[in-house]
Amino acid sequence: MERFSYVRAESIPHAVTLLNAPGVRSRVLAGGTDLVLLAREQRNLCDRVVDITLVPELHEIRRVTNGAGDHVQIGAGATFSEIVASALVRETAPLLSDACHSVGATQIRNMGTLGGNVANAAACADSLPALVCLDAVAHVVTPTEELAWPVADFVTRPNRTQLPPGGLLTALSYLVPARGSRGVFLKLGRRNAMAISRLTVAALGRLDGQGRIAEVRIAPGSATPHIHRFSQTEAHMLGQAPSVALCQEAGQAAVAEMLEVTGKRWSSEFKEPALQAMVARALMSVFNLADEEQLA
């Protein structure tokens, strides 16, 4: 007997209608890299799989300019490969390109989607720290309304989001960072390909006309259960002239900020020095400072 049936959505409204069919427990198939495995483990996962992989609008990556500024909107069904190949994303948010490039290997990047990564919200999801660093917004469509949350609020903890039952995550958007901003994404894994992240850091910053830090954003992944910007660490740096010493202090501040949330855990012994070094290196890269430890 089939454990679930399959239906293919043609458009976003069609997908939402299918997801809200009364009496049918439906699950969205965005890329399949999580769902197909989950369906194998949980025999009674759903009654029907709604395949959204071929909905054209969900693959669109476009610039949206409105009163609030210049945004880039990425359809939730865009695969990591499509995002890596996007000149618009590369030009406006290279740290997101790099985060998407660090996912799995070719096969996984050809299948896995940005929306799936966000909606599944694995603790180690590589795109999440990048999206949080970009202050990205998650766009959701339900049968009655269109909703939006900052990604940092949308993903509440590992595998938990604010997605309402029957809602479809349709896009992720971010305000194009101000001119002069530089962003980086660093990942610590056991090897280059296919590695599950042990720790990631997305960071972005910009100097003012006097060479002082006008803006800095730091979003570590796999460090805390809820991925968020480390605002205390950011505040420590604002208004200062960037230096190697300041970046190293920020690394220490980030460790303290992580421990405030998580307390000491079995993995802290490993994560503390790793996070400190990664935050410091990310910031040195953002502010174009030579990492003397690495050069030595």
Partner: protein, 177 residues
């Protein structure tokens, strides 16, 4: 449910459950056992196939996802005479095949790369096969075989592949390290 798609260039219609993987459909319903199951969870790449030209792990694709689309498996990769094509022959010649279990996936990963570029450097080749595990060769020979095929195809040799499926003398000179 009825699943209709193009398999290795030929239209096909098959009755199969909706909840099985494309890998299971290929191997157990269509008897195309060239596509291998390694890990079954998308880590090893042994089950790689091309879906609309893109390399995917068929263990993570639901069989009905193939509906209306084009699937190429290792059975669809061959020379004009039915023997190995140039990439497959180079795998043989360069000692890139030992136990052979990863090779169908490796060949498809190689073909997916060569469809995109005929000027890959070794780093690009390694990245292109990063999702395909081989526990025998240490990858060196596989990278060599793909690199040589790219060079041959650049020269247009791939278009008129006249190689015999019988291994050339070169293969005997290859040392296995």
């Amino acid at each position: 449910m009825k699943i209709e798609f193009t398999l290795n260039g030929h239209p096909i219609s098959v009755e199969a459950p909706a909840d099985i993987s494309l890998l299971h459909l290929l191997r157990d319903h269509l008897n195309l056992t060239g596509t291998k199951e390694g890990c079954g969870v998308g880590e090893c790449g042994a089950c790689s196939v091309l879906l609309d030209g893109r390399l995917v792990n068929s263990c993570m694709v639901l069989a009905p996802q193939a509906g209306g689309r084009e699937v190429v498996t290792i059975e669809g990769i061959r020379g004009p005479d039915g023997g190995p094509n140039d990439l497959q022959q180079n795998f043989i010649d360069y000692g890139a095949v030992q136990c052979g279990y990863c090779i169908p996936g490796m060949i498809l990963a190689g073909e997916a790369l060569l469809a995109k570029t005929l000027t890959p450097d070794r780093a690009e080749i390694r990245e292109a096969i990063a999702g395909n595990l081989c526990r025998c060769t240490g990858y060196q020979q596989i990278v060599d075989a793909i690199e040589v095929t790219a060079a041959d195809r650049r020269k247009g040799a791939g278009a008129t592949d006249t190689r015999s499926p019988i291994p050339s003398p070169r293969s005997q000179e290859v040392t296995h390290g």
